[in-house]
């Protein structure tokens, strides 16, 4: 009985392997076919982005300006998944303190934490100048929040970074993203318009340049940081199953 079950399982795995390999092979064929098309998909983003948006990082220019609507959508996906997680799991509670690191480690990390915070802040504020942007910086901030939880224990971390602050930060950031987009509607250009609304461009290459792009980066950074860290806290603060 058990033997035959094992055999059928093996056969099933083999069939699944053959199926997925054929899927992969057809995908390879399709990709090669698609990239073999004689075409230069140069839409002039690289040529025009500095003039159009004032951002040196073309990827940020596309994310925050040319295709800013996608970014709003993706920020809403994060927003909704945080809400879904909060709806599935209960409000986080930390009753049992898990074993935390030794005092020396904690002291050492406590001195290092301000240094750690430099990196995400740099990434967020220089999103239009160097690699990175709101998302990368925001996730790094969220990872730092997780770090404080792991190193200093939940109770202290929750005292320093209260959950309601994260929630409110996320809601306000999401709301301000939408309202900032409406600015373009009022000036008659279109939703999420940047330089065309009359915002000064600044000198490309400097910190204050790119019109609304740094502002959007900041908003997205706050939103992603708050959202993802409250995701972690909700998951971690979920009580273990009672035996």
């Amino acid at each position: 009985m058990n033997q035959s079950y094992d055999t059928s399982k093996k056969i099933r795995h083999l069939l699944a392997g053959i199926f997925t390999l054929s899927l992969g092979a057809s995908l390879i064929w399709l990709i090669l076919e698609a990239t073999g098309m004689p075409l230069t998909p140069d839409l002039g983003y690289v040529m025009n982005s500095v003039g159009d948006t004032g951002s040196i990082n073309v990827v940020t220019a596309i994310l925050m300006d040319y295709r800013g609507f996608d970014t709003l959508g993706e920020a809403s996906v994060i927003f909704t998944s945080v809400a879904v997680t909060a709806a599935i799991l209960a409000e986080p509670v930390f009753t049992l303190e898990r074993p935390i690191l030794s005092i020396i480690t904690r002291r050492a990390i406590a001195y290092l934490v301000p240094v750690f915070f430099m990196f995400p802040l740099y990434v967020i504020t220089h999103g239009h100048l160097s690699p990175g942007g709101g998302f990368q910086g925001g996730v790094s901030l969220a990872v730092l929040v997780i770090l404080t939880h792991v190193v200093f224990g939940h109770n202290l971390a929750m005292k320093k970074i209260p959950f309601s602050l994260l929630t409110m930060g996320e809601y306000w950031a999401a709301l301000s993203f939408g309202i900032l987009g409406l600015l373009g509607i009022f000036t008659g250009v279109g939703f999420l318009a940047n330089l065309a609304t009359g915002v000064p461009r600044g000198i490309p290459g400097q910190l204050l340049s790119g019109g609304l792009i740094p502002v959007l980066n900041l908003i997205v950074g706050i939103k992603v940081a708050a959202g993802l860290s409250s995701l972690y806290i909700t998951l971690e603060g979920n009580p273990r199953r009672k035996k």
Binding site: N57, V59, P131, G132, Q136, V139, A142, V143, L228, R240
Partner: protein, 84 residues
């Protein structure tokens, strides 16, 4: 991607990528799987950096190797017990 050396390095990374993906899927233990997955994410990030996609590399590094690993470990910790 100018020299032969870089090309060979790329091929090695790609091979490691496939291997780590395969072992992440096939290995049984949960924590091992998660660690292999985070190795996979780091390799992805290195690959993206080599392929001129620094922004994506950064995002993959912080999300795949940092944030998601933390979530996975938490979830694995919460689902450890008598069931499997």
């Amino acid at each position: 991607m100018n020299s032969l050396g870089e090309y060979i390095a790329l091929i090695i990374i790609l091979a490691c990528l496939v291997l780590s993906a395969l072992s992440a899927v096939l290995i049984r233990g949960q924590i091992t799987t998660i660690i292999v997955l985070s190795v996979f994410s780091v390799l992805c990030a290195v690959l993206f950096a080599m392929l001129q996609a620094v922004d994506v590399a950064m995002a993959e590094a912080v999300i795949g190797a940092g944030f998601l690993t933390a979530l996975f470990v938490t979830a694995a910790d919460k689902t450890r017990g008598q069931g499997s």
